[in-house]
Symmetry: C2
Subunit: 122 residues, 2 copies
DNA sequence: ATAATAGTTGCATGATGACACAAATAAGCA
DNA sequence: TGCTTATTTGTGTCATCATGCAACTATTAT
């Protein structure tokens, strides 16, 4: 059974997962969760490889899941700024925000390195 | 035993979550899942800030969760090669594998950028 | 207006995962 | 030998989330 302690440390209020720590350059967990799902990662990789904006139904053809699920995944990536969505008639074109994505991860790498103790060079 | 470095390449057999796509430089989802949990991210940030190896019970003092949970989180990060564990008597010292971590994220950034269409410069 | 197509959203379900607590392991000390 | 401390592991519970399917919205064509 859950104890009282865990109950109110649960902090299930919305958006609590944002902003993890004081170190600048470390992304929040929501952003990382967005790219850590294997299906979303494959969708992202597909869009990166495609080199051009693609519509939802076309993307979905490459995955053994329902279009609605793909749409949800795309929305998650879009909400984190990873993808850009542009509606054109009936279709919605999704594309990768390359510079944004790479800058986040490069910033993460730099944040880690900047704290790296000189002696730790293993 | 756990001072041996690469254990993180071990469970390649069962993990269909391993190796997401054909693009070199994109980490697999298990690695990203390891850093995408908010508690683990805070633990990692704590270790980065600490600038030196810390034992489990000391790390746990900074978080409102049970030591056992912290131990599990540390194991997950260790299994992904993010942390190094060194047993010294009763205690286990955990430290950040800075170069490994930053190289993964820098490689991710480069992988994204290398596929970036020239015109897409925002 | 009706129909058809593209995409999103509501809802139920099964899987995964974080957590607390207890028990087990391991190492040092009386 | 116990006894204490540090850490890991077993187990059950609760929350979150990926998924499928159905319903809904939006846009275009007949």
């Amino acid at each position: 059974m859950m104890t009282q302690i865990s109950k109110h440390l649960k902090k299930t209020q919305k958006g609590e997962d944002r902003g993890c720590c004081g170190i600048p350059g470390i992304p929040d967990s929501r952003f990382l969760k967005a790219v850590s799902d294997s299906t979303r990662l494959r969708i992202l990789a597909h869009l990166v490889e495609a080199q051009e904006p693609q519509i939802v139904s076309e993307i979905a053809k490459n995955f053994p899941i329902d279009v609605s699920v793909v749409s949800r995944h795309l929305a998650i990536l879009r909400n984190e700024g990873i993808l850009l969505a542009e509606k054109q008639g009936k279709e919605v074109y999704y594309s990768v925000r390359y510079e944004f994505l790479s800058s986040i991860f490069r910033g993460f790498a730099s944040a880690i390195e900047s704290c790296c103790p000189p002696k730790e060079r293993k």
